[in-house]
């Protein structure tokens, strides 16, 4: 059947009743803005991070093409690019390699590309463009700097190029240059003109170079399809259709892991959104609930004259919708802004290096709007049901003075003590009180948990994994490069360390000696590695070379005594660390080894271990975790390799070919300033030394803590604020709703003072109940939950601070009293008679 068209009437009613309570509206709009703001910012952050990741991956992959047909002859590429499913294509022709002395370590490939390839390969010209003249060339800034060529068009670029084994030396003219991409491998590219190709390369037979493996004069055809689904299949189909058979490549950036692929990655965001929705719900629901209860007579009246339950519900929902519409854009805008502010903060402590890109995807706003709307809608639904269920008689009866009056009178006679009355009043609406207590306690408990977690963060514990003393001196080679170079250029020598230790104010210098060696593989280890070798990617063998040689790599460290203190009990996986026994030099600490994702120990305490050709064997005192003594070691691990820690005896290394990996300086705090200058002067004078102070690390750490605190305190502040607003809202509306009852009480002889006292008691009861909940349940939850979290985070030491929570209780009490007094004063302005009449 066609429903009657009463939308206009219902809408009009909703609008009118909106207009009737502006204060409530602002509160709800505020709540909507808050909810939308937080949800939007989370969406902005997630979507933007995901986009940044994708962008970074594409850059790493070298382009945003869907796929590539490799090593084609000109004819083949002409055939392929005719295929109808290929929407766009770009060609890149292999010319040769730059063989200049400067690029011995990192080779530069010379190609000839078209505009399309340049565009899709992130070749973004700072100046100029692709070469046209035979001697034109395009290179990136990094390569040009290495060559010492000035960054200006037309500059001469002398290059030696190996074209299929034939060397050509030529002075090119720079026709364009682009920014070196930090995410691309340093193996750069140089682009020459088609006319250069015609002159030097065209005659070379691509079929031949394909066989010889230089691939000179072969073409890579980079293609774009309609979309990025099933790229592999599409490539194969093109090959099948054209009857060609060449190697193809799929751009892995399109298939790689994004933030959205793994549900686990999204879990914290989902949880955060749920928490926000919950708090938004509590806030909006509460305001609506109270406003419905306050306007119960209004809704009852509407029902009496023929507003159906469904229409009543609609009235509430329409109000919610209108307020939502007002609040949403503000929330979305502010939320997007906040999200954009948060992104750099979040990326700064993420382990991924990436370009920050700010997504303006409409999905951010659509998603945030939907989730905010769900919150608002759910919040309004229950109050709507309450309004719908109102008995019209109830509403009509409300007008009767005698009945409520009598009820109030009875109570007065019953409990003449004011505090008893207050308790009675409070417990009259248990549901409301429970809701208020829940929202208030939830906010405070969350605050307590976040506060505890933040205060549990321990900078020293964090710093210890980077620096054990006040300064650490390292060699550039070991810090930047991963590997030991010839000892001759190594800057951190015995003499340097000696010099440092003699500086006034330096109490002690702890040295770490380091060498890498090999370890024969035991049968047990072999048994562990063999199954792994079978599963490995044949293109990237990891375990099979180890199995072939039968050797594992071992990093051998010798530590000064000062390091013993850095070793925590939690670092030890098996065995017991005994300082005195260790000092004897007969014992060794062995670390676990990385095998795929897991860590496994090859040794047990008591085992004997022997490496290299030294012929000396040590007894394993304890097995330590992989990241134990992290500050002492290098920043890389070998596959299936272990670390061995030996004591340094009489400051002399017992191992041949050891180098000083680092020297940690402990400074007398009294002479710190002086020592600082001298140490810096000392290390600056030796090229290749790196000096890092504890303060440097601290500064790095501080940024992270600031972010954590901002987010954490912000969140707990908002949640606490919501609870507090709920509390205030309930208090105020409770007083307003009962104004008639108060007038009766006053008319039968209760003084204003007594009334105020009663109301203050009511507020204080709530505070007391909240305190009880916090003191028992809240503390328990904080202790249990945060302790387990803190133990799982490396740089936290569980530390419980009850003070801020305890302090919040008197604060609450003060707010409660102030709010009560203000609300009552507002009320008491009218005379008793006026108030008695008002309700009728």
């Amino acid at each position: 059947m066609i429903r009657t068209n009463n939308r206009r009437a219902v809408f009009g009613l909703a609008k009118k009743s909106l207009r009737a309570s502006p204060v409530r509206n602002w509160m709800i709009i505020g709540a909507v803005v808050l909810t939308a703001l937080m949800i939007t910012s989370i969406f902005t952050v997630t979507v933007s991070l995901n986009q940044s990741m994708e962008q970074t991956q594409m850059r790493t992959a070298g382009g945003d093409y869907h796929g590539t047909f490799k090593y084609l002859t000109r004819g083949e590429s002409d055939t392929l690019k005719q295929h109808p499913s290929i929407k766009e294509y770009g060609m890149s022709l292999v010319v040769g390699w730059v063989t200049n002395e400067e690029f011995k370590t990192s080779s530069i490939e010379v190609n000839s590309i078209d505009d399309n390839t340049a565009k899709h390969s992130f070749v973004e010209f700072i100046e100029g463009g692709l070469p046209v003249d035979e001697d034109g060339i395009v290179m990136n800034t990094w390569a040009l700097e290495k060559l010492g060529v000035p960054l200006e068009l037309g500059a001469t670029v002398p290059l030696e190029i190996d074209i299929n084994g034939q060397k050509i030396s030529k002075d090119f003219k720079l026709s364009g240059y682009y920014k070196a991409d930090q995410y691309l491998t340093m193996a750069g590219l140089a682009f020459v003109s088609p006319s250069f190709v015609d002159k030097y390369v065209a005659q070379i037979d691509p079929e031949q170079t394909r066989l010889s493996g230089t691939y000179v004069n072969t073409i890579s055809l980079n293609v774009m399809f309609n979309n990025s689904w099933n790229i592999r299949e599409k490539l194969d189909k093109v090959l099948a259709d054209t009857g060609l058979d060449t190697p193809t490549g799929v751009n892995w950036a399109y298939s790689s892991v994004s933030l959205f692929d793994d549900a686990v990655n999204l879990l914290p965001y989902v949880a955060l959104i749920l928490v926000i929705m919950l708090s938004g719900y509590l806030l909006i629901y509460n305001i609506f609930y109270i406003s419905v209860v306050r306007d119960i007579k209004f809704y009852g009246l509407l029902k009496t004259i023929g507003t159906t339950p469904r229409q009543l519900k609609r009235i509430i929902v329409i109000q919610a919708n209108l307020l939502f519409i007002i609040g949403l854009p503000i929330g979305l805008g502010l939320g997007y802004g906040l999200g954009c502010l948060l992104i750099p903060m979040l990326t700064s402590f993420s382990d991924l290096t990436m370009d920050i890109s700010y997504s303006v995807s409409p999905w951010i706003f659509i998603g945030a709007a939907i989730f905010s709307y769900i919150t608002v809608r759910i919040s309004a639904s229950k109050p709507g049901r309450i309004a719908a269920r109102i008995s019209p008689v109830e509403a009509v009866k409300y007008a009767g003075v005698s009945k409520t009056g009598r009820r109030g009178l009875k109570r007065t006679l019953h409990g003449s003590k004011i505090y008893k009355m207050a308790l009675g009043n409070l417990l009259r609406n248990k549901k409301k009180v429970i809701l208020m207590l829940a929202s208030l306690s939830l906010g405070l408990i969350l605050f307590s948990m976040i506060y505890t977690l933040i205060s549990s963060m321990n900078v020293n514990k964090y710093l210890n994994s980077f620096i054990a003393g006040d300064y650490v001196v390292k060699d550039e080679i070991m810090e930047v490069k991963t590997g030991v170079s010839e000892n001759g250029t190594y800057a951190l020598t015995e003499e340097v360390v000696q010099g440092l230790s003699q500086i006034a104010g330096v109490d002690r210098v702890d040295k770490v000696y380091f060498k890498t060696d090999t370890l024969p593989m035991s049968a047990e280890v072999r048994a562990l590695l063999e199954p792994l070798a079978k599963e490995e990617n044949p293109d990237m063998p990891m375990y099979s070379p180890l199995l072939e040689t039968g050797q594992l790599s071992i990093q051998v460290y010798e530590l000064d005594e000062g390091w013993y203190d850095v070793l925590n009990q939690s670092d030890i996986a098996a065995g017991e660390f005994d300082r005195e026994k260790f000092k004897t030099g007969k014992y060794v600490l062995v670390s676990e080894a990385i095998l795929d994702e897991s860590e496994q120990s090859f040794y047990r305490p008591g085992d004997k271990i022997e490496w290299g050709q030294s012929g000396k064997s040590y007894e394993v005192m304890a097995v330590v975790k992989l990241d134990a003594l992290y500050a002492a070691g290098v920043k890389f691990y070998d596959i299936a390799g272990v670390r061995a820690f030996l004591p340094l005896q009489e400051s002399k290394s017992s191992q041949p070919d050891s180098i000083i990996l680092n020297a940690t300086l402990h400074v007398d705090p009294n002479q710190a300033d002086l020592a600082d200058t001298v140490i810096r002067a000392n290390t600056d004078s030796v090229p290749g030394l790196i000096l890092k102070s504890r303060d440097d690390y601290k500064a790095e750490m501080q940024g992270f803590i600031t972010i954590f605190q901002t987010v954490g305190y912000g969140l707990s502040f908002i949640i606490g604020l919501i609870g507090l607003m709920n509390f205030m809202n309930t208090m105020i509306t409770g007083i307003i709703a009962r104004r008639h009852e108060f007038a009766i009480l006053e008319s039968i002889g209760m003084t204003k003072k007594q009334l105020r006292k009663m109301l203050i008691y009511e507020g204080l009861y709530v505070v007391v109940f909240t305190a009880v909940i916090l003191g028992t349940f809240g503390m328990l939850l904080t202790y249990g939950l945060i302790k387990s979290i803190a133990e799982n985070i490396a740089f936290t030491v569980f530390h419980m601070d009850v003070l801020p929570i305890a302090a919040s209780i008197p604060l609450l009490a003060i707010i409660s009293i102030v709010v009560t007094v203000l609300a009552y004063r507002m009320l008491a302005k009218d005379t008793v008679v006026a108030r008695l009449r008002e309700v009728e």
């Binding site: 059947m1 066609i2 429903r3 009657t4 068209n5 009463n6 499913s85 399809f225 309609n226 979309n227 689904w229 599409k234 189909k237 159906t308 469904r310």
Partner: protein, 348 residues
């Protein structure tokens, strides 16, 4: 009307069908081009188109059924409302229910008004009977006392004349009231006619008998031309009253020595009685007005009368299914034709 509607519907069906189909086909084609015309996408698309079309057809069927239902319900609603039966749609949030409510209220009110009018009629009836009843005694008293006064000897010439006038006026008033009562009774349908198959000549004779003396006094001759076998379906009492009224007029407006001719003719449907006189006649433009209540011709202003006789005549005749008409030439005389239902006609 119906077929035009159907045609219109068909046209809109076609428009919708074409739009939906082109939408689906366009979408499918687009998807095909995106997915590179792979055959494995073809069959799902075909299936999709088929299912879509199926759903459209089903939906149309449902809509049609719905519309038919609505019309059915409407029919029931109207029927139920007229007969005062229970509500079909009850109290629900639908247009139909709202409509039904309005309809029921409307019909309620109509009934209410009808009853109200009836009640008013009854009131007039009572009033009229009251008037006739209450005026009878005072009037007859006036007549009685004026007679007593007239019999009193020794009245002066003028006084004698006045007493006579009182007597005449009282008679006239009596007649007027009687006429009014009759008239109103006729109008409100209080007077019940009892038409029956009766001899027409009897009724005419009955009418003439009341006027004969007056005619004789005035020297007016009355002739009748009537087949005694003619019967008509009429109430003899009231019809003779009509004839009396007509004859009374004829006598009144004729010069002494005039003639009145009554002729009767039996037609297939009606029996016609013509009463022709040689009186002053009626002006042509007044002919249609003479049957109006209280209408008096300009030229008859000098005669006595209240202008109610012809009106009553017409009312009585139409109450028993007959009618009356008049034809006249001023100065030459008037012919009134009374039509009574023929015998066989009454049953129809």
């Amino acid at each position: 009307m119906r077929s035009a509607d159907a045609g219109h519907f068909n046209r809109s069906y076609i428009i919708f069908a074409v739009t939906a189909l082109s939408l689906v086909l366009g979408y499918t084609g687009w998807m095909m081009s995106i997915t590179g015309q792979a055959e494995r996408y073809l069959w799902p698309s075909v299936l999709f188109v088929f299912l879509f079309a199926l759903i459209c057809v089903l939906w149309l069927g449902v809509m049609r059924r719905r519309m038919a239902n609505i019309v059915d319900t409407l029919d029931q609603i109207v029927e139920g409302a007229i007969r005062g039966q229970a509500r079909v749609t009850g109290y629900s949030e639908t247009n139909l229910s709202s409509l039904e409510n309005k309809l029921i209220r409307y019909i309620d009110l109509s009934f209410h008004h009808e009853r109200k009018i009836e009640a008013e009629k009854n009131k007039i009836k009572e009033l009229i009977s009251d008037i006739s009843h209450q005026t009878k005694t005072p009037l007859s008293n006036i007549v009685l006392y004026s007679q007593l006064l007239a019999e009193q000897s020794g009245l002066e010439g003028d006084t004698q004349q006045w007493v006579k006038q009182i007597r005449t006026q009282a008679d006239k008033l009596d007649w007027l009231i009687q006429s009014l009562i009759k008239m109103s009774r006729l109008e409100t349908g209080i007077i019940a006619m009892h038409p029956d198959s009766t001899s027409v000549i009897d009724t005419i004779t009955r009418g003439i008998s009341q006027i004969y003396r007056q005619a004789e006094q005035k020297g007016i001759s009355i002739t009748i031309d009537c087949d005694t076998a003619i019967h008509a379906h009429h109430d003899p009492k009231w019809t003779s009253e009509v004839l009396f009224n007509l004859l009374d007029n004829a006598v009144k407006y004729s010069e002494p020595g005039g003639r009145i001719h009554i002729s009767v003719a039996a037609y297939e449907l009606f029996v016609r009685i013509d009463i022709a006189d040689t009186g002053i006649g009626i002006e042509e433009d007044e002919l249609h007005s003479v049957f109006k209540r209280f209408y008096r011709c300009k030229r008859t202003a000098s005669f006595e009368g209240v202008g109610i006789g012809l009106y009553l005549a017409r009312e009585i005749l139409s109450a028993q299914g007959g009618y009356i008409k008049a034809a006249s030439k001023p100065g030459q005389g008037t012919t009134f034709s009374v039509f009574l239902l023929a015998d066989g006609q009454a049953k129809v």
